[in-house]
């Protein structure tokens, strides 16, 4: 029992330090347009899938609405809007990337739309090691000015061979263990890690009007994801560790 406590203390220390050793910036200096435009409603567009996992799109889509809502925005119900978009012939968000977004303001009354791109949703095997990686790119664009208001990535890499506390999350560990027993990658449950990746990305989003800290988070520190050549090399070596949260482009 005591051993476990000490272990969790160590783990928590590790978590805390991982919070502070990377290049930092503030929400205001990174996303000034968020404070300028003061959007209050967000429409989630169907995720774009760059991976070979065909089901990633539908599964990943189920993980976005909740954290986005907690950030203080009115988020249109994705299961409803995605179906309506599909009826309107919109299924591939890639085609919307460079088009005027005012139609989403007219149709839904949305202030902004969220583009998401799944970059990684896979397992990699190195000798006896297996790593599960989920990586997503998010971009919020204004429907009145078409400007990019916010863009951030979330990546979670979990080593599944160790079986130990690799995620720092009790539930995550249990799932990781379950996956280790059924090492078949097709059976792997990516969604808990997708939630975590999302959570990492969305934590940098300035709070919306339904959040108690709305407009008070300008100086809040976030990890600077602007590519820095040395940092990228560092984060690559980090993936060989037990768990790595990358800040790469």
């Amino acid at each position: 029992m005591k051993k476990k406590t000490v272990f969790s203390v160590l783990l928590l220390c590790l978590l805390c330090t991982s919070c502070v050793t990377v290049p930092k910036t503030t929400k205001l200096s990174e996303f000034p347009l968020m404070y300028e435009e003061q959007i209050s409603s967000i429409l989630i567009l169907p995720p774009m899938n760059e991976t070979t996992a065909a089901d990633a799109k539908e599964y990943y889509a189920t993980t976005i609405q909740e954290p986005l809502t907690y950030s203080g925005y009115y988020v249109f119900p994705y299961p409803v809007t995605s179906e309506i978009l599909q009826m309107e012939g919109i299924y591939d968000s890639e085609l919307l990337m460079n088009t005027p977004l005012s139609k989403f303001r007219e149709f839904f009354g949305a202030d902004a739309v969220l583009f998401t791109r799944i970059k990684k949703w896979d397992m990699s095997y190195v000798v006896i090691d297996s790593n599960l990686t989920v990586s997503v790119e998010c971009q919020l664009k204004s429907t009145s000015t078409n400007r990019v208001l916010w863009a951030y990535d979330g990546t979670v890499t979990v080593n599944l061979s160790g079986g130990g506390s690799s995620t720092g999350h009790i539930l995550g560990d249990l799932i990781a263990k379950a996956i280790t027993t059924a090492i078949n990658s097709a059976m792997a449950d990516y969604v808990p890690y997708a939630r975590k990746a999302n959570y990492l990305a969305i934590s940098s989003l300035p709070y919306g009007k339904y959040h108690p800290q709305h407009t008070k988070d300008k100086q809040m520190e976030i990890i600077d994801q602007t590519p820095q050549p040395q940092e990228e090399a560092a984060s690559e070596s980090a993936t060989t560790g037990e768990s790595a949260v990358q800040a790469s482009e």
Binding site: V9, C16, T69, Y78, F107
Partner: protein, 119 residues
């Protein structure tokens, strides 16, 4: 000694929470889980389970004195609409619009649409 360890754990927990999470202003229950189950396997059963979860979120939010999260009334209304219960659907869409004025435009559209499906 054990007491100190315990304290340290609590302290560290608070610190790491301060690092990452925000105050819970909504109750979402098992929303993401039942939605994921439905996406994995679209059947009457998984839809029913998700619908019950939405109803549970509405009830529990009221119990906890919280606002029903954005989109929950609307999603529930949409399920009723698909099940040809236009009256219940319209009521729920109106509730969403009252609680979240941002949704008014879209909810009015859905109310018009559910009127059309009425037999």
């Amino acid at each position: 000694m054990i007491r100190y360890t315990f304290l340290a754990v609590v302290l560290l927990c608070t610190m790491s929470i301060g690092c990452t999470t925000t105050q819970k202003q909504y109750y979402f229950g098992e929303y993401s889980d039942t939605l994921y189950d439905f996406e994995k396997n679209r059947t009457e059963d998984t839809l029913l389970e998700h619908k019950q979860q939405l109803e549970h979120i509405v009830a529990e939010s009221k119990d906890k004195n919280l606002n029903v999260p954005p989109g929950i009334y609307a999603e529930l209304g949409y399920i009723y609409m698909r099940q040809n219960n236009a009256k219940q659907a319209a009521e729920l869409f109106s509730k969403e619009a009252e609680l979240y004025p941002e949704s008014r435009q879209f909810m009015d559209r859905l109310i018009r649409q559910s009127d059309k499906t009425k037999i």
